[in-house]
Amino acid sequence: MTATRVWEVFRRERAGAPMQHAGSIAAPDERFAEIYAREQYGRRGESEALWLVPRGAVAEIDDFVDEFDLKYRRVDGYSIKERLREARERAGTVEG
């Protein structure tokens, strides 16, 4: 069978876990896709739930730009350790 459509399958392994990408299946339509996804990702009771998404509906974003190094949005942009040490010395509260 030359499959005409591909679905991406996401699965939740157990209650509370996030949906994770599990792979893809090929099927002629949604009804077949549902049955095939159940088989491939659920026959051994390994999934709590599945999401089926037509491949074309998935928008991928994988380019992130940070030209000017805006590290203040990230914790490692600050040297908290340094500043704290300085503040403690100033306040005379440095331990040991």
């Binding site: 069978m1 299946i25 099927a27 077949f32 049955i35 088989e39 026959r43």
Partner: protein
């Protein structure tokens, strides 16, 4: 007249499930697409699982074991319907049989689920829950085949042959219900025919039974496998 025993009620169903499970397993590795291979494998496993659960109930009543009932009875003690005995390695025939069997089975199971015997009602309810998936699969294929001229022709041809056998899955009283359900679903009339009833043994069953029991018979009774 004594009430039917659990063996009387459940063995025909158990034998049907065992043999149709065997037939569905014959597609392993050679189904039209890999996905159907996997799907029919699940259906076969469910059917064999049902057979096992049913045999266990009967075995308790008879002082036997599920495996002994499945494998060790003489051929003429099997109570399976002729429909499941037939070997039809053609996809249209397989889907036709799947539809006939699942529709008849749904009628039969619904009646068992209403039984006064809690054990019978209980097992019927559990089987019914799994059968939902089989019916979904059969429905999907039915729609696919009905949607194309070629598919519809092949299906009709297969149904013409298998319809008497489909009728034979059920007791006389329930056959009209089967006819109504199928005529509506298939949007066609089904002919008046003599049903192929239980107690009739197709030659294919002897071949199946021979192969099914070949390994088991190679060791003395009671050997562990």
């Amino acid at each position: 007249m004594p009430a039917p025993s659990r063996a009387d009620i459940l063995l025909p169903l158990a034998d049907d499930e065992l043999i149709v499970g065997w037939r569905n397993s014959e597609w392993t590795g050679i189904a039209p697409f890999l996905e159907e291979d996997v799907a029919f494998s699940s259906i076969a496993q469910n059917e064999i699982g049902h057979a096992r659960a049913l045999y266990e109930i009967v075995a308790e009543e008879l002082g036997s074991t599920a495996d002994a009932l499945a494998y060790d009875r003489p051929l003429d003690e099997y109570r399976c319907a002729p429909l499941v005995q037939l070997r039809r390695m053609d996809w249209a025939a397989t889907i036709a049989r799947h539809v006939l069997y699942e529709t008849a089975d749904a009628i039969r199971i619904a009646s068992l689920a209403a039984s006064d015997d809690p054990v019978v009602a209980g097992i019927a309810a559990r089987i019914d829950r799994e059968e939902v998936y089989h019916r979904m699969h059969a429905e999907m294929w039915l729609d696919r085949l009905l949607a194309s001229t070629d598919g519809r022709d092949r299906l009709d041809h297969a149904l013409d042959e298998l319809w008497p056998y489909g009728l034979g899955v059920l007791d006389e009283g329930r056959r009209p219900e089967l006819r109504r359900a199928l005529e509506e679903r298939l949007d066609r009339a089904l002919p008046d025919v003599e049903p192929a009833v239980r107690g009739r043994y197709e030659p294919e069953l002897a071949e199946l039974h021979d192969e099914m029991t070949s390994v088991r018979r190679s060791a003395p009774a009671g050997a562990r496998w």
